[in-house]
């Protein structure tokens, strides 16, 4: 005895003003009667604390109720009976901007402290004697391309050097005396769908290299009064060298940005 929600698109990405389409799949061993089947799409902005350690944002915001930014509800089946076996009930919910007092859609975002999440829930009401059945699925809202920044993002590369002198944190004495030099370049601006490109060359190192990792950091910030408060969290580490690699060999930096942990497009920020 279960119901399940299946969306029409496998990637579950929908844009504002499109129709969220899908079907409710109900499987029952016997036929049951119900008091209506309803589909509800909701969107919430959460400011939450994750991971236990109290950060800046948490101290400022405290316990904040989720902010609802969207709610659409449609009855897809009026009270009646569902036969036994598998029943598929199609549904359509129009995602309209500027409805019900909500001004616009924000793109889905799963951050450490801030998240914007859209859910679609199917409810099957069965009166007081029986438990209602429900199923929830997340769907992803992505802005329309037209909402993107007008100018296409031009990849911009910057060169960088890392030596013992550029580092602020304390270094091993032999590393400090022997010295090292890492040169490279990396893109500073790119579309989130594109990988992060760059290259790095170990020109010299007094001690053997153990590993080279690229950390992808996420900065979340909110406006508190007149101040912008930011918090940085590590979302992905990508190893690009394992072991004491050859000197003067160029290594590529190639990181595919994780979609759910970042913004689908840049327009959210």
């Amino acid at each position: 005895m279960s119901i399940e929600v299946k969306l029409s698109r496998s990637n579950r990405i929908y844009r504002p003003n499109e129709s969220l389409e899908g079907k409710i799949i109900a499987k029952f061993p016997t036929s049951i009667s119900h008091q209506g089947i309803r589909i509800t799409a909701t969107g919430n902005v959460n400011l939450q604390v994750r991971g236990g350690s109290a950060g800046v944002i948490e101290s400022l915001v405290g316990v904040l109720k989720p902010v609802r930014i969207m709610k659409e509800s449609v009855e897809v089946r009026s009270p009646g009976k569902l036969s036994s076996g598998t029943t598929e009930i199609p549904f359509t919910v129009k995602l309209r901007e500027g409805q019900n007092g909500f001004d616009r859609f924000y793109e889905t975002f799963h951050g450490a402290n801030i998240s914007i999440q859209y859910l679609v829930t199917a409810d099957l009401m069965r009166g007081y004697l029986h438990k209602s059945l429900s199923a929830t699925v997340e769907f992803i809202v992505e802005s329309k391309k037209t909402n993107l920044l007008k100018k296409p993002v031009s990849p911009e590369m910057v060169s960088f050097y890392i030596t013992q002198d550029t580092q602020r944190h304390p270094l091993l004495p032999e590393l400090f005396s022997g010295g090292f030099r890492v040169a490279g370049k990396i893109i500073t601006q790119c579309a989130l769908l594109d990988p992060l490109n760059g290259e790095i060359t170990i020109e010299a190192s007094a001690v053997p290299i153990h590993s080279i990792d690229i950390h992808l950091l996420r900065v979340e910030s909110i406006l508190v009064g007149e101040k912008i408060v930011s918090e940085t969290s590590l979302i992905q580490t990508t190893q690009i060298a394992d072991g004491d690699i050859c000197r003067s060999m160029t290594l590529p930096i190639y990181v595919i940005l994780p979609r759910l942990l970042t913004c689908p497009t840049v327009s959210a920020g």
């Binding site: 690009i240 060298a241 190639y254």
Partner: protein, 977 residues
Amino acid sequence: MKIREEEVAAAETREVERERERWSKTLVFFLVGKLNRNLRKKERERKMEFRVRDYEEEEATYSLYPRISTTNDHPLIICNPSSSIQVDVADCGKNDFYDPLRMPTANSEDDTTDLDVHGLLTITNLPRDENPYLSAKEWASFKRSLMQKFSGSKLVTISSISDAIIGRGKVYEISSTATHLEELDNPPKASEDGVKVITRQEFVSRLRELQDEINHSWKADNRVTSLKSSIKVARLLLDTSVSEFYPTLFIIVTEVMDILGDMVWERIKRKAEYADDGTRICSLQEKFSTSDVCSDAKETCYNWFCKIGSIHELLPRIYLELSILRCWRFLHEHPWEILQRVVMMIRGLADPLASYYCRLYMVYCAQKLLPPDTGYLITCITDMTIILRRITSEKETMSKKWVEDNVSLISLLEPPLEWTMKCICMEAYKKRQYDDIFVKLQLGRGLSNSSGTSKCISIIVHHFLKELPAELVCLHASYILQLIESANDISLNQYLNYRLLGLKLSERKPQVDYVDSVLGKVFQVITQYSRLDEYVKVVDAFLDIVLQYNMDNYLTIILDGISIRAQSKEITENELSSLQSIILKLLAHFNLVEEVLALNHFAEILHVMYGSSRDVVNMHILDKATRNGYICDPTTIQMLFEISQALHDCLDIFSVKDDHHEQQEHLISRFVQLVDYGAEMEHHLTFLVECRGAFGRISELKEVLVRSSNNLVMKEVKYANNVVDFVKSCIAFNEVTIPSIVSTTKRMNLYLETIEVALLGGLVCHADGLIHSAIDCLQSVDQSEGLILQNDSNGVLSWIRKLCSLLVIIPGNPEQGVAYYPRSILALVESQSWITPQLRLRVFCAILSLSTTLSQNKLPYHAYNTEVVGNDQLFYGDPTYHQELEALCSSVLPKVIDSVLQEPHKVIRGNLALEACSYILSAYKASSEISTICAKLIEIAKSCLNVNHKYMRNTVRYMDKQLSSILGDATTPRVST
């Protein structure tokens, strides 16, 4: 073929054979007993009496013999010399141990090179195929050879990285806390506590389990789980401490990766071709473009790359991306552009082993993208070179241990290098751009700048050379020579490169002057080699060219060089196989074995060899020697004799391999057969005696010895006069030799042959003794052997008939009486239980015929040698002589009917009765007693056979005619037809 050969060799014995042939014909003739028209006036006598016959006239009347007028017409005689040569040539091709594929090579290293050269041949011979990429089949065989090459240790030491294996598998020593700590700290790989030992088998079976898990979860739509398991599997390759096991690990892991890759590919392809509800949207062509793929499929595909992109560690990330590399085709119009990035990413793997094998997988996966250029491969090789240079150039720490470690590491790195080179050369072959490769691989750089860092790495030169087609090697030989010279490091011994160059050059025929300069340089280098092993390997490769261009000076240098280096020490297995190959090449090149044997130091080199190589070489020498007719030169004979002796001494060691064994025996026998001392027959006989002593284990040889000695007698009888002593010693030699032969058939044949030869030589005494031995020989046949002989009862019969025919000319011994031998024959057939009634009857008939013949006043034939006096002269008119014969026959006659009746088979019984009847009729004059016996026999025949049986009717008619003289007698039963 064998029969033919023997015939050629035994040309001398033909005389004997012809003689024998004639006799037996005559014998058969009168045994069959045709009608004799010249019947004397019949006398009605009760007494049985032998019929009197005039053999000369009978022969003239009935013989077929004159029709075969000249001996040359005989169908079995070879008169056309060209045909016999043809036979020899065909024989060359057929003799199977000349097959180069069967040449045993003990050296594994050698093996692989040889195999690979073959492999290359097949590749270069490949027609211009549409798809020049190495096929899946080749990849499979490559994997197999890789597994075989590194199947050393049984136990695998695993560190904490291989969690996936340890997870549920049995481990001998588990310290969970230590493992846990390691995971937290990610410490260096082999911390003392975390090292576990697991057997190879378990490791593999655990991996297979994981593979099944991946499959199952995929089928259960749990694709994320299967991806996770795949990552676990890929992580196993992080641990390079397993060293020897790494290639096997690599193969298993990549198989798992391939499975995942295929599943992903199929899934996305399905997404692109079918809608969610299963209707077909489109079908993708073999070469589809990204625009054919629907966005949904693209999305899924991209999602896979995203998932894989989020793997933290570099190595599993690369492996997984490679496994689904093909899927870039859904997203990218030019998917091969990805390759350059992947190649560079692999640079991040610092461990040589991990990075080499990762490159191998990359090269393998990249083929599926059908990349249009080899840029990525070139980068690959360059990167590999840099790593190798790092390994080979650390000269300051040249401790022995260090070198050993690195050499074993390099042997592990070799297969990926080899495969990559193969791919490059394939591509270049496709586009005919070899010159380009020379430049791109920067192999030439080492030449201009021979000091220091950018020298060529010898192993890279090696594999490059190996993949280059031979034409190109010939074209650029001097350049390649420079390359080889400049590349001298621990990665691969330089001599192997020289060897390879030699092999490649001999595949094609380069120009003479060019070859000369190349050879000059090569020999300059190799004369410096002090180790025999290196020297012979290189020399072996160049020997073909040296022989082809008849560069005798180099041949002298080579043989000198080998003998100098071989003297000092023990010869190893590797060296042996090279020496073997060198000697075989020499043997194949020269026409006559004498030329080879006469080469400087040849005997010396032969002497340092031992074991199976020595045997193989010896066999080839013997084979060569016995190909060109008789061997007359005494020194050659002496040398070959020693070689045969060496071969013979090893026979019992190799007694397991019967096939091999037989061949050696046959070769030695051939050799002994072909030895010819010409007029020095005494020497020849001494040689035969020596052979008998030396090759006691070969039974085939004994036959040859007896035949040869008989040959000698024949020659002696033909050419010289005063020969008795020599002939005597030959016959005596045979008398001693024959009893040691195991097979009764052979022994009997040889006895009969020798009896004839003895008679030709006039040695009655010896012939007498030999007949005795022959009968003894038959007498000694026991039940079990008899059963075998029984199947060939014609054989036994013909021996006895032959004996009877010989008894016609052998003078009867006055002491023992003329009937002594016939009686012993009778005793023989009656005592042996294996003799069938049929055979017995025929023997009786033969004895009857013999007796009739002996009773004639003039015998049908006499001995060739006039010193042997016939019985007709010896016993002329002696009544006891005739009485003895008659007594013999009258004892035989009743037995005839008995043995006819003993025959169980009806039809045979009938025929036998008729046969016996004819014999008796032709042997005796007509008399009532005879007619009674004949009538009995006919009665038996009638009871067994059809009335209209032709043979019976003819026999009855014949009987009527013979007995017509006593027709009037009422007592004679009249047989109606």
